[in-house]
Amino acid sequence: MNAPAPVPAAPIEDPARIVELLTRALHAVEADDAARYRECIDALAEWRTRPLYATFGRLAREIAEAMSSLPVDSRLGALAGCELPDARARLDFVTHMTEEATHRTLDLVEENRRLLDEIDAATDPAAVHAAVLALRANLSQMALAQEYQDLTGQIIRRVTEIVGRVETALADCGVTFEPAARSPVRSFGPAIKHLDAPAVSQNDADALLSDLGF
């Protein structure tokens, strides 16, 4: 077994005290006095850890000083405390709004299908005309339901600004991030051009699965 690398020895602090403790411990062993022996050894152990405590104390002081000298910590505090929850609430609202708009559009699509069946089956020109009018009104409603894009676009632009401020504040603190490692088991959502690894097309996926025997 290899011996551990030697640690550079610090100068012995208060050698007289150590000699005294060791001598007393030795006498206690000779006198078969377990209690006194334990007491001396504990005192030695306590003395041994003292420089460690001093080092920890100094480190804690240095960290506290470094933290307070960071130029942007108040900015980060404000971002974390209110801007980020605000951004989150806005994005939740976008999800809600897009969901509503999609359901509204799907409702109208289903209604239009019903109207088309009606037109298909109608024998009375007046009934056909009424269904066509209803269809036209529904198409206008469908176009109108797309106005969510303008509203969510504005909200997302605002969230982008907030994210930008967080990024600047973190960069000013010297915080940098490594891109997260990709794992085949995790999900990432849609791949975005120029941001993600190029997405596999349906044809590529089919070819890949066919190579794998599917």
């Binding site: 085949p184 999900s187 990432f188 959502g189 596999v200 097309s201 349906q202 890949l208 599917f214």
Partner: protein, 130 residues
């Protein structure tokens, strides 16, 4: 292709479930059920008959790939066909899904034709194997 089969649609977005359901209805499949994530899907499968699962991958709670693994791990569902309909379009992910025993893989956004094509393929293979 038997149009009377029971299909379970698994997606965390109600809009996507509705779109898939409408497309399936257009193709003549009208017996559908829905679940919001893998857990909900497993609960449904344990107490209802099902002939095909159409699942998203990225869902909070139990994801689609975890659902696929759970299905294949259960002898009762080992042969149940699973069609993944997902925005996850990474090579490694497709390989992972294949390794876990997926029966078809559709990348979102997709068309009604793609859905029909994959369903036909799944059932052709099942009939050939039967």
């Amino acid at each position: 292709m038997d149009k009377k089969i029971k299909i379970l649609i698994v997606d965390d977005f109600s809009t996507m479930r509705r779109i898939v359901k409408n497309l399936l209805n257009d193709l003549g499949f009208s017996d559908t059920a829905e679940a919001e994530d893998g857990q909900g899907a497993l609960a449904h499968l344990r107490s209802n008959r099902c002939d095909l699962v159409v699942t998203d991958w990225n869902m909070p709670g139990m994801s689609g790939i975890e659902l696929l693994r759970a299905i294949r791990a259960d002898a009762q569902f080992a042969k149940l066909p699973v069609l993944m309909v997902t925005a996850e379009a990474n090579r490694d992910q497709i390989i992972e899904a294949a390794r876990c025993g997926v029966n078809g893989y559709i990348i979102k956004p997709f068309t009604a034709n793609t859905l029909e094509e994959k369903l036909t393929k799944i059932f052709e293979r099942l009939e050939a194997a039967a």
